[in-house]
Symmetry: C2
Subunit: 689 residues, 2 copies
């Protein structure tokens, strides 16, 4: 229901209200209206809190008012803790009282099939110029205002991470988790059904909030992916945004729909949009928390090369596997390693990367090794994996780490691997803001988040680097196209007008036409029956490959005539079969795709997505994410293929969808690519009504 025409709102009064009304406040401890009141009061909120309850009396030491219209003051925020059926009336009265912000905690709206009730709420609020959070939320916390306006846990550790969660229960339990992990929060907001105030409003606030350094989001779905992306594209360059999104699988998406009425959308497109916007998508809750902690405690690396120092060769091997799988390069100046590390470690240590100092090396030399690596500017980050050996003075060792690693100007990620000594050390280091992990794989994962965050910050935002404005051909006169698929010849003509190279071709209607077309051309040719009705042409027997001679062509044309008199004759191209396409996604609107093409495209399943418009940088990144991207540098002895021209074609397909509302889908498959260039050899274009 929120859309891009919504005015950008100033959320300051929402997060730092002077006074708050709790509609449905209660003296009964089991009621949400009681828990909310209590959390607000016990959380230390310094403004006024007005309980509203038709029965009046006193609630938690405060005079209750029968009606929000009776309040002595106009609060900045009203929290509505009433059954769903009474929420609309309450919003209306709050609006009439001039309250600018409301929170509807009540469930029983869109997520329970009551979409009308939800729409009514929003309409009522809009009528009064009021903005509302919810319904189906637990409320929010904002620690700089000492405001705990939610009915979940009361223990909150103030800090610099903002949590935005679509699931209230997950948010509440996550609060317990971060408390226990020592991750302090600036804010926690439950977004629930996002009927009005949504992720974008909250992200905008937290990204400009000086009290917040990183944002952790749990998302089940987005109502307007484009608006989300347009905001986040800039925001993610100033603060890391870590996202956990469920509904990755079809069954997961079903659960999401019944939970917060969200459209989980095509997960691949979410994935592409997140990458495009510099959002860090975590694979698990644990990973999201590890990443968050690393991102608020460590600087982003200036170089990507990592040096690994370990006293366990096996742990070193496991760590290197993880680094490679995350595409993190190893620092490879072996001369430096031999010279500098060789001066510290005994001869049995392996002077390479990892520096395997072996179990015989005491922690003192391990610390010296860490120090050298921290001081060397050509090393981007340092991973230290140490299994405490029996008899080590753990207190001295831990203090040594704090002295050596504390305040390093580059990421240093440690793993103390072992039993209670190691676990104790990790906890002590954590309290000092030093990132130490229980398992080496988790240090690797966190470093990968730091490196991706560093890439995000350097990224050119999509909007400022997109290909120059619409060119000739991109706004096409489409009036005459019926809904459904264009025939292949028209589709190829259309994408050619849009500036995408296509194979040389002729439309023929009779044998004479065929002969005339072939005359002077060398072949081989491809001949296809021309009909918009035949979509999967290969299966219908309408494609004939590699016909070299005129007599052979005529013979095949006669065969095809049973399907269609009109045929498309094309030069057969050599090269690698790619696919490029554009599709209109319900969440993100026009999106583009790239991958390995051919008839097995679904099986090969090597495609990446981005939303349109996209920059040249985005398009190149998208190509590099696929296996098809690997062959652009040359394949089986052939020369390199120009990625730029493919990227340009992808960008143009996106523009076509952006500028022409009626085009629902374009698929160019195969796009033949070779060192001599690219050309579309087939295309499908589908029009909407």
């Amino acid at each position: 229901m929120s859309d891009s025409t919504c005015p950008s709102i100033d959320m300051d009064r929402f997060f730092s209200p002077r006074s708050i009304a709790v509609i449905g406040a209660s003296s009964e401890p089991s009621k949400l209206g009681h828990k909310l009141m209590r959390n607000i009061i016990e959380g230390g909120f310094s403004g006024s809190v007005f309980p509203v309850n038709p029965r009046g009396g006193e609630i938690l030491g405060r005079t209750a008012y029968a009606d929000v219209l009776d309040l002595p003051d106009v609060p900045d925020l009203a929290i509505i803790a009433l059954p769903a059926a009474m929420a609309n009336e309450a919003i209306d009265r709050c609006g009439r009282a001039g309250i600018p912000f409301g929170i509807v905690v009540s469930a029983g709206f869109g997520e329970a099939g009551n979409a009308e009730g939800e729409e009514e709420l929003v309409n009522t609020a809009r009528r009064h110029g009021m903005r509302i959070l919810g319904p189906n939320v637990f409320g929010f916390i904002y620690t700089p205002s000492s405001l705990n306006a939610q009915f979940g846990p009361s223990r909150v550790l103030p800090g610099r991470v903002a949590i935005i969660t679509q699931s209230g229960a997950l948010g509440a339990s996550l609060m317990g988790k971060v408390f226990d992990e020592g991750i302090g929060v600036s804010g926690v907001v439950s977004t629930g059904n996002k009927a009005d105030i949504d992720d974008v409003d909250l992200l905008s606030f937290f990204c400009s909030d000086p009290n917040t350094d990183a944002i952790l989001m749990y998302i089940e779905g987005l109502k307007d992916g484009r608006r989300f992306q347009s905001v986040i594209d800039d925001l993610s360059r100033s603060k890391p945004i870590i996202v956990l999104k469920s509904g990755r699988t079809e069954e997961g998406a079903r659960v999401v729909r019944s939970h917060t009425a969200s459209l989980a959308g095509r997960d691949r497109i979410f994935d592409g949009a997140f990458r495009q916007s510099g959002v860090l998508r975590a694979g698990s809750i644990r990973e999201a928390l590890d990443w968050t902690r690393a991102l608020i405690n460590l600087p982003v690396p200036e170089r990507e090369e990592v040096l690994l120092i370990t006293n366990g060769g096996g742990l070193g091997a496991i760590t290197v596997d993880g680094l490679m799988e995350n595409g993190i390069p190893l620092y490879d100046d072996v001369e430096w390693i031999e010279r500098e590390m060789g001066s510290i470690f005994p001869a049995y240590a392996t002077m390479n990367n990892p520096v395997d100092i072996t179990a015989q090396a005491p922690y003192g030399s391990y610390l010296k090794g860490l120090k050298k690596a921290i001081e060397e500017p050509s090393i981007g980050s340092v991973i230290g994996i140490y299994s405490p050996t029996a008899g080590a003075d753990m207190d001295d060792f831990t203090k040594g780490i704090v002295r050596t690693v504390g305040g390093a100007g580059k990421p240093v990620l440690l793993c103390s691997f072992g039993g209670s000594d190691a676990i104790e050390q990790i906890k002590r280091l954590g309290a000092e803001g030093i990132q130490a992990f229980y398992y080496p794989e988790e240090a690797v994962s966190s470093l990968s988040a730091l490196i991706r965050s560093s890439r995000s910050k350097k990224r050119t935002p999509t909007n400022s680097n997109r290909s120059s404005g619409p060119t000739e051909g991109l706004t096409i006169h489409l009036g005459e196209n019926k809904p459904g698929f264009m025939d292949a010849a028209s589709a190829l003509d259309m994408i050619e007008r849009a500036g995408i190279p296509t194979a040389r071709r002729w439309v023929v209607h009779d044998e004479e036409g065929l002969k005339a077309a072939v005359d002077g051309s060398k072949g081989p040719f491809v001949l296809k029956a021309l009909s918009a009705d035949i979509v999967h042409k290969t299966e219908a027997g309408a494609v004939v490959l590699g016909i070299g001679s005129v007599s052979g062509l005529l013979e095949k044309y006669r065969d095809l005539s049973s399907i269609s008199k009109s045929a498309l004759l094309m030069e057969q191209l050599k090269g690698v079969e790619l696919i490029i396409g554009a599709v209109r996604d319900p969440v993100f609107g026009p999106c583009v795709m790239f991958g390995l093409g051919g008839t097995m495209v679904e099986v090969i399943d090597d495609v990446s997505f981005r939303t349109a418009p996209l920059s040249m940088e985005d398009a190149l990144m998208m190509i590099s994410e696929t296996r098809a991207g690997e062959i652009m540098e040359g394949f089986r002895g052939s020369g390199p293929i120009d990625k730029g021209s493919i990227a340009e074609a992808i960008i143009r397909l996106g523009e076509l969808l952006l500028l022409n509302d009626r085009i629902e889908e374009i698929e160019v498959n195969p796009l033949m690519a070779s060192p001599s260039g690219i050309a579309a050899a087939d295309a499908r274009v589908r029009f909407g009504i």
Copy 2:
């Protein structure tokens, strides 16, 4: 150096020796020879321990002997804690003393480039009929004998897991980890360089050991993959074997080589061999420990369908994503869920799978839900994800879980998600043997291990179900083949003789021969220059596809003549392009592969491996692991492809390598597959010297 001719040895005296000699025992606490003595004595070993040190005197209260030949008794085991240069002499003296087992803890052998020294050790031991563990190990622990014969940590929790680790440091720190996680061990053995006693000897012992329920292995490489597999194939059906293998990536393999001189081998082949043998390969150390704990504490499920009960919809969605990604089916009797769960939970709960009981449901009804699910025989296993809500009586709740879940006849995996209350509960449940996890993803991962373990147990071992003995054609007279590649025609002839269908074809040497061959055939044809020198034919321009007419063929034949007068004319086949192959791996010997074929095979990278011989069941499983396997049921409207005939062809390729030592490699690409059958359209065969 160990090979399949090694006699299977009785390791009982090694693990339960009556007496032990420690060669290099020392009074100096920092020396390994001291730590070993101390651990053995303090560990409570009830047999005799003889320190051996040329200086004599007393060590840890025991009389030291100057020479192992002076001992009053012949120990069953000698532990050699001397510098590498002195180890061989010590082994020799132990052998002369009649000691049957030795452990060489010393480093400085194969892993440090001293392969000769290592070989010398083994030869010396063999001469005396002595078996040795090491070199480059920390020793071992066997808790049923109260024997702690290693120089690492002294704290050991007796239990039912055996740990076999190639990395000493990793093993030592893992001991700390399992102690802290409450996972008790029956044994811990460091295998180091595996010069003599290796994984197979140890696995054989632990698999028949009544004190061991599960085996956790860390492997960097194997010297003889076939011997490993032949033993493990049976063993894994009696006890779960969890493997952590490093060297997954090229860089990781480099680290492994410098660490324990191991050949990490082709990781994909390891992966295939592990699957084939029912070994559970974990992706991380944490996962390996989670799996181990689940496998020793929970029964394997009788059915795979899982019911999920949660009080957090978001957590439910995350869990379902994980289940789907692990191929675990959801219990789908919604009628049962509505009836049975509906009687417990209020109307706002979602009666589906997951059963989302919402944050409003008290733990008492959660427990009732768990109980119902545990009692329903058609539910294979139960996952319960609960975020403790504020104010819950955690003590009562935890006791309730113990009452409800303890002793369930099916796997019940719980996740208490939240802060200190949840963490405390997980620890208490763990102490009762109830599997509760910090994160839902970890419950899913452990369930996937249980399900795979259950499949392993049901698996027919490879050896008892392989295709009937070698048939005509599999033992081929190969004397005349030169080392290197066969030409394509001979290669196709060979695999045809081996019983694999091939495309119809003719070898032609002149235009007359070409005309005669084409006569009476309809085409289209493929014409290839015939030369063993041209391996990547497509690139050399030697393949011409889809030539329909005789005149076209003659024209192309003339073109090809510049490359080779001999040409292979083949009928062009329709269908999906697959690849099947066989290769001789340095670790596992003859192996087979299957995947999507065509010229892009390396890029598409959709292949799975198995070792040969393999059963029909193995071959079908191998097919189902690939994306290519997905299209066997039908693709874009065409009918199903017979997996059995492909599996049979794969098995035959494996047999070819097994029976013909000189064949190094066979690759059939493409193997054309369609509903009407399969046929090899091209083949490469490489011979060794």
